[in-house]
């Protein structure tokens, strides 16, 4: 009791706070890896060992690596499904896989690639790289991002466990009603899909909010918007797009789930519902989603090309403006997925024009990259090979994209294999090739070791050749009238030969991905040590160790140039000082000019994000099984979120110790 009373006295409190946080003199951060400040930072930022620390972590690098690793595992799993589907389609009238399993497999493949792989892997890369690139020690809301990871992991696992138990979603990755609705979506398969959408989109939104805040408010002093790296721009644009687009698909999935669980009539034409609502809501999200995947990839390329061309990006401003323009235009395209539904003529003209116009900002970027290469001196390593592969494949995919932007032509090839070819050209060309480039480029930063160059070249060539052998013939199949999502076809359709060729290509892709996995495993076991900056790059993530320590920088950098590691100014301050090394302290800067504004205490590790994620998942499944679970199931998450927010003694003490009123 007396201790409690004593704690109410502010002076006593300040003293108690100091005692609980650090003994003796306050230690401030500053440059020098071997300094007392560095070891104090290490003590402050180190996380608990063991399972508990593993669950509690809020380190953006650990969370980011988890995202990337998990999504890559699911990428491989969905790739295996693709290989099985290609084997089924290699010959006409094949009986390898029946229609029920085939439907589940292509749904799982599409759902996994779009929701479980592509968006999380890009966000994961950003969660890892953005705080390093803008020069801060953690993300703004690292607990929220940790929670997002657990939501994502549990949601994805539940979908795949469901698939293993013959409860795999089977209405396509777009889950059109009525096929996914209460009458034709039989069993619990579509419920699992709707849950997954809720969980992965919640994940996407949480990470997007976190990343946008980091980029806007936590950049190193001096990193004004004009000096911000293109990758940070790409993630900012993506995050804002996510914030506007993802609510749409969450709403759609929930309306569909209400139809299934509570017998509402949103998609029931007999009771005033409209099945096209689903398509509008889905594609209002679905088309921008392509750009959530594509724009970060543009960011990778705009980061990698300057490093290997040994010069700053040509047309930095034009590239940034193009990305912003893409972000806006992406919201005007969704109807081009619906040209075969009945649309007013005026609408068709508008959406055709938008679909074609979006090619212009991409063209601007491609020309700026070519100009950069043209006027640079080129260090031809594996990352740049993948970028060159990107040029070939994405441009081809973009050309077919322009073709299908034309309504009349789209009416012919819509939902045919031409579209399968187009979307794989733009998604693999526009996202997976840049992603592999990014893996080769940043792997040394993640692990401290360089991926093997020779295996990398082999991987590139097998991937490039395999990709084109697989997907180019599909253009021809589409023109020859082969529709998508069929589990088999008759011999007299004449589609057999091209399908067999595509299947052979798929096998080559499988070999290529295997080579990458081998490369990663071999490198982890003992690859060439990378050093802090193996490529001679310009951005801030290379200004710290590889892999970076938990606190990222011994002293936060100060930036005086667009290329901070290439063009330093002699009389500029180089780093920030005066931040506590005993508390997880960082700096908030102003939005436009990144002037130092407020000191900020980062959240500490906490078990509650993981617990909250589990309770949310339980709630969703509970509400699928019985409608009352919708209400009772809310109680555990509410408790978890309150405990998450509730300030601990130590947090209050830290706040008081650092406190300085604005």
């Amino acid at each position: 009791m007396s201790r409690l009373l004593a704690a109410l006295d502010p002076r006593e409190l300040r003293k108690a706070a100091r005692a609980s946080v650090g003994r003796g003199e306050a230690i401030y951060d500053g440059p020098g890896w071997g300094s007392p400040a560095a070891s104090a930072l290490d003590r402050t930022w180190r996380e608990k060992p063991g399972v508990r620390g593993w669950l509690e972590t809020v380190d953006h690098k650990r969370t980011g690596k988890r995202f990337v690793f998990t999504s890559f595992v699911f990428f491989c799993a969905a790739g295996i499904l693709a290989a099985i589907m290609r084997s089924q389609l290699a010959f006409p009238d094949s009986h390898l896989v029946g229609p029920d399993l085939y439907d589940q497999m292509f749904t799982m493949h599409g759902t996994t690639m779009m929701f479980i792989f592509a968006v999380p892997v890009m966000q994961g890369m950003a969660v890892y790289l953005i705080p390093l690139m803008v020069g801060t020690r953690n993300t703004a809301f690292p607990r929220m991002t940790a929670c997002a990871f657990w939501l994502y992991l549990l949601g994805s696992l539940s979908l795949w466990v469901g698939f293993a138990l013959n409860t795999g979603a089977d209405a396509g990755w777009f889950a059109y009603v009525p096929l996914a609705g209460p009458e034709y979506g039989i069993g619990k398969r579509s419920d699992l899909w709707n849950n997954l959408i809720n969980l992965t989109e919640a994940m996407g939104l949480m990470v997007a909010v976190d990343l946008a805040t980091v980029i806007l408010k936590m950049r190193a002093p001096g990193m004004s918007l004009r000096r911000m790296p293109v990758f940070a721009w790409s993630i900012l644009v993506t995050s804002v797009m996510i914030i506007f687009a993802m609510p749409s698909v969450m709403l759609a999935a929930n309306l569909a789930q209400f139809d299934r669980t509570f017998a509402t009539h949103f998609f029931n034409p007999a009771e005033g519902g409209d099945v096209l609502i689903w398509q509008h809501l889905f594609w209002f999200f679905g088309h921008p989603e392509v750009y959530f995947i594509f724009i970060p990839a543009l960011g990778f390329i705009s980061t990698i090309i300057p490093t290997f061309a040994r010069r700053p990006l040509f047309g930095h401003t034009a590239v940034v403006l193009s990305m912003i323009a893409t972000g806006f235009l992406a919201f005007g395209l969704w109807v081009h997925h619906m040209f075969a539904t009945n649309l007013p003529e005026l609408g068709k003209g508008f959406f055709t024009a938008m679909s074609m116009m979006i090619a212009i900002p991409t063209a601007v970027q491609i020309f700026c990259w070519i100009a950069t290469l043209w006027s640079g001196r080129i260090n031809l390593r594996a990352p740049i090979l993948f970028v060159l592969g990107f040029f070939f494949i994405l441009v081809l995919g973009g050309m077919t994209g322009i073709m299908i932007g034309a309504v009349p032509f789209d009416l012919q090839v819509h939902d045919s294999y031409f579209i399968v070819a187009h979307l794989h050209y733009v998604l693999l060309g526009g996202a997976v090739f840049p992603l592999f480039a990014a893996f080769y480029y940043w792997f040394p930063k993640f692990t401290g070791r360089l991926l093997d160059e020779r295996l990398g070249r082999w991987q590139f060539w097998t991937f490039f050749v395999g990709f084109n052998v697989t997907f180019f013939p599909m253009h021809l199949l589409g023109l020859a009238g082969m529709p998508r999502r069929i589990y088999t076809y008759a011999a007299d359709t004449g589609w057999g030969t091209l399908n067999l060729v595509a299947t052979i290509g798929a096998a080559i892709i499988a070999v290529s991905v295997l080579l990458f996995v081998v490369n990663v495993i071999r490198t982890r076991a003992g690859g060439e040590a990378a050093g802090d900056d193996p490529w001679g790059a310009a951005t801030l993530e290379w200004a710290t160790h590889s892999p970076p320590p938990a606190f990222n920088f011994v002293a936060l950098p100060v930036v005086a140039s667009r290329e901070p590691l290439w063009a330093r100014e002699a009389d500029e301050p180089t780093h920030v000082s005066g931040l506590s090394a005993q508390v997880r302290e960082g700096l908030v800067t102003t939005v436009l000019d990144a002037l130092p504004d407020v000191r900020y205490a980062y959240p500490s590790p906490s078990i509650w994000p993981a617990v909250a994620a589990v309770t949310v998942v339980v709630w969703l499944f509970w509400s699928n099984v019985t409608p009352s679970g919708m209400w009772y199931g809310l109680i555990p998450p509410a408790i978890a979120f309150i405990l998450w927010y509730w300030p601990t003694r130590r947090e209050t003490a830290e706040q008081l110790l650092l406190q300085r009123r604005p």
């Binding site: 138990l165 013959n166 619990k188």
Partner: protein
């Protein structure tokens, strides 16, 4: 060790339940299953057993139940029973059963027909479809698995979906007013 064993058991049960619920059985059963003859009297030595091995295969299976729902409309059961509320024929969504609520009894009712208007569908409906209808008829009063029962249809709203029906304790009763009907 015990935990792991328990996890394995739970996983096995879950997987069985899921497989049962989600299996799409496109093949017809190889031979017809003849249920025991229907009993109208409960007087007999020992316990009554009318169970067949097939019940779970249909009643816990979402596909079979939804097929049953489709056939209930296709074979015009709705003509007399409406959507379960009853019309010329008795209601099927209440707890009252005239000829028994056990699957085998309902099977016999469909196949053999009953006095006062229930026609015999024997020979007209393949055996597995009769069982699907049996399972669906039971789901109308909540006797089939709630996890597998159909959700609402894309039709006019007439009643709560089968998946939201509380299980009702069946009671056997004489046909109400059946004797007055021609």
């Amino acid at each position: 060790m015990n935990v792991r064993a328990a996890c394995c058991v739970v996983a096995a049960i879950v997987s069985l339940a899921a497989c049962q619920r989600e299996k799409r059985d496109f093949e017809a059963p190889t031979k017809a299953v003849t249920p025991p003859p229907v009993r109208l009297s409960e007087i007999q030595p020992g316990a009554i057993s009318t169970k067949t091995s097939l019940e779970g295969k249909y009643e816990d299976n979402a596909f079979a139940l939804s097929e049953g729902k489709r056939l209930f409309g296709w074979y015009n059961c709705t003509g007399c029973h409406a959507h379960g509320g009853g019309d010329k024929g008795p209601a099927l969504m209440d707890r009252v059963w005239i000829y028994g609520s056990e699957p085998a009894q309902i099977y016999a009712t469909i196949v053999e027909g009953r006095p006062n208007g229930m026609p015999s569908f024997g020979g007209h409906i393949p055996d597995n479809e009769v069982w699907e209808l049996v399972a669906y008829v039971r789901s109308l009063s909540g006797l089939a698995s709630g996890m597998a029962s159909p959700n609402r249809s894309d039709t006019m709203h007439v009643k709560a979906p089968e998946s939201n029906v509380e299980a009702q304790q069946p009671v056997t009763a004489a046909p109400s007013g059946a004797s007055e009907r021609p």
